[in-house]
Amino acid sequence: MYSRELDGETYTFGVSGKLWRDALLMYDHQTRTLWSHITGEAIKGPLKGKRLKPLVSTPQIAWKTWLLNYPSTLILSVPTRDGMRESLNQDVYADYHASQRAGVSGMEYTDDRLPNKSLVIGVQVPAKDGTTQFRAYPLTHFTKMAIINDTLGEVPLLIFHDKGSFATAVFTRNVARDIRTFSVQDKHFVEDNTGTRWNLITGEATSGKEKGTQLERLPAVNIYWFAWARYYPETSIYR
């Protein structure tokens, strides 16, 4: 999820049909620069070296859970093309997701710290020295507990994954100038060490004097390990 605004200009994006590091490249209609949709970086063309601003989103969640939390949501309707309606309730990549095969190029992946097709939550935060810190949180950590309180570099993080709705979110644990620690209450509701209750789908406090306050959400992705490790080989893994 990226902003389409960059340096005061607005861009629209299409699919280039080209691959780089095993992922499709986008291009912008205005300059035909090629952009990585994994990193948001322009890798070829007039805007090479520029980077799109990542925006926060819920990268995946069951429709019913989203609707419950955002009842006024609109939903993308099914386009009609060549007189044919697209299939709305079918995953054309189901076989790929179910297979052991990594990527589309058939290349060998060598980072065997995790199995290639392990799903991880990929997180990146800036460090004080201007570099970026990367950490992968394997979804297997969330089978018993929906949250992890962690610190990556200087940044206290709350990592959330609900196995029921497949919702993922990453928040900072900084609230009103202190660092909170969270524990699970039920489903996607947690309580922090001051007694405030939070909904981690919306990121909003639901009780106490902080009711309505928002946790600061960070960009998060659900991604296969092989792809995360290919783009960010320096990543650490939460164990």
């Binding site: 629209t12 299409g14 049909g17 691959l19 939903i75 993308l76």
Partner: protein, 95 residues
């Protein structure tokens, strides 16, 4: 005229049968022509009560300035990108 089924078949074919032999690290490889997978530039939306999506189907959710949108991942498989404006924020939803 673009053929959606052909495009996806081709993509899946290449996906399954491309070999490591022709892979050069960090090379840009052309798999399909530009726009063979058509990004959405004029997205149309319906309210939730008009949606026909399976309640358990996966979506990408965004919310800006009180406006919320859901994009079905199954639809995004065939489009990869939605160019949208949500709550005044110009966004590219990518999958």
């Amino acid at each position: 005229m673009k053929n959606y089924t052909l495009t996806l078949s081709l993509l899946l074919f290449v996906t399954f049968y491309a070999t490591a032999a022709d892979y050069t690290d960090d090379a840009i490889r052309t798999l399909l022509p530009f726009d063979a997978i058509p990004a959405i530039t004029d997205p149309q939306f319906v309210p939730a009560n008009a949606a026909k999506l399976d309640p358990d189907a996966p979506i990408i959710g965004v919310t800006f300035s009180g406006e919320s949108r859901a994009y079905s991942l199954y639809l995004l498989n065939g489009h990869e990108i939605v160019n949208d404006v949500v709550g005044g924020q110009k966004i590219a939803t990518t999958w």
